[in-house]
Symmetry: C2
Subunit: 205 residues, 2 copies
Amino acid sequence: MKSEHVNEITLGPQQEKSKRARNAIIDATIDSLVEVGYAETSLVRVAKAAGFSKGAIQHHFPSKEDLIAQTVDKLISRTISPPPASRRARTVEEALLRAWKTFVDTPAYRALLEILNAARTDKKLKKRIGKDLIAWRDRMDLQSLENYEAVSGDDEDVVMLLNMNRSFMRGLLMQEQYGFSEETATRYLRKWVEMISPLLRLKEK
Amino acid sequence: MKSEHVNEITLGPQQEKSKRARNAIIDATIDSLVEVGYAETSLVRVAKAAGFSKGAIQHHFPSKEDLIAQTVDKLISRTISPPPASRRARTVEEALLRAWKTFVDTPAYRALLEILNAARTDKKLKKRIGKDLIAWRDRMDLQSLENYEAVSGDDEDVVMLLNMNRSFMRGLLMQEQYGFSEETATRYLRKWVEMISPLLRLKEK
DNA sequence: CATAAAAAAGTCCATCCGTAAGGTTTTTTT
DNA sequence: AAAAAAACCTTACGGATGGACTTTTTTATG
């Protein structure tokens, strides 16, 4: 029976401050996730990075799980939000390469991967963020259908191809972290895009 | 000045015992990595699983880093060792699908991924196992060249395609852990193999 | 100035890795 | 064959850190 948001219309100045603090803390969490990974992302570290005390963090986020869950929210919304409203891509190649640069090869995505990996074995966390992840995936599939169509095949193929694309990019990102250089990764990415783009078409809007 | 005993042929009963113990500990480590991930893989947990006390582990492995490093050794050698000497694959499709089942979609590979991901942010560990990983990659590339040739293109293309294959499979494995079902993963895998196999040819031996 | 939220400071308990001190069994030495 | 050394393993403890929780101080607001 949580009636959390009562005053959504007028945020008192104090709530404003609180909101800013929470944002700062979440941002510091994201940074920490990218820098030192999930395991090392402790409350004290986040606190120091955000310029607060540990107590302040536990004031805003009752448990670490809460902090992570809200961080996931922010990360997901960031990954979903439409591209920087720049001009639309003209070709499938361009769209996919841009997706790599804009969404995948970013701190936000790396942070999200950190959490996802941690959630694999942390059942409580997994249960907590599970719904969001499913919603995220559904949203992604929907976006796929909005933007692409299959040259030969149905909607299911579109979803499949775009999911394959995400798998590939994810694997590439991981491999890039240890092993080969960024140029090599780019080469592989181009080859992949070259292979898959003939199967897709951009939908006119 | 090293006057090492050339008594490697006959292992004393104590060395035998020691060897068995070390193997059991490493195996328990691998199991733990798969079950609960790197962060939760503590020495006590490994000890209990292996049926020893924590002290025993630290007797055989001076530090946790040592334990992990030796585990990596074992995992890598397992990932490299030739397929179960069964009949050779007849087609590229078959070879790639078999590689998935034999090498990638296995506990060993998952355990290795767990360590790799942890090493990303653990500099000491990264430094420790870095060489092995590079050697591993080189070995993989070599194996690629031994088994495949490009339908059109040179050796570099072979290495690229097989590395792309590994990226894809890695990404698929990760995504399989949260998100979609195994059947879906299999469908994606088949599609991928279907896309890439026309570019490769099996080398006759 | 009074009150409530925000933030800090400090306590508590669990767990982690590592080390040290024994005890027992095997191996080596004398 | 006895003594010494080494290897194996257990139990116990230390220092450090993590997260949850509690209490105190500060700050903002009406």
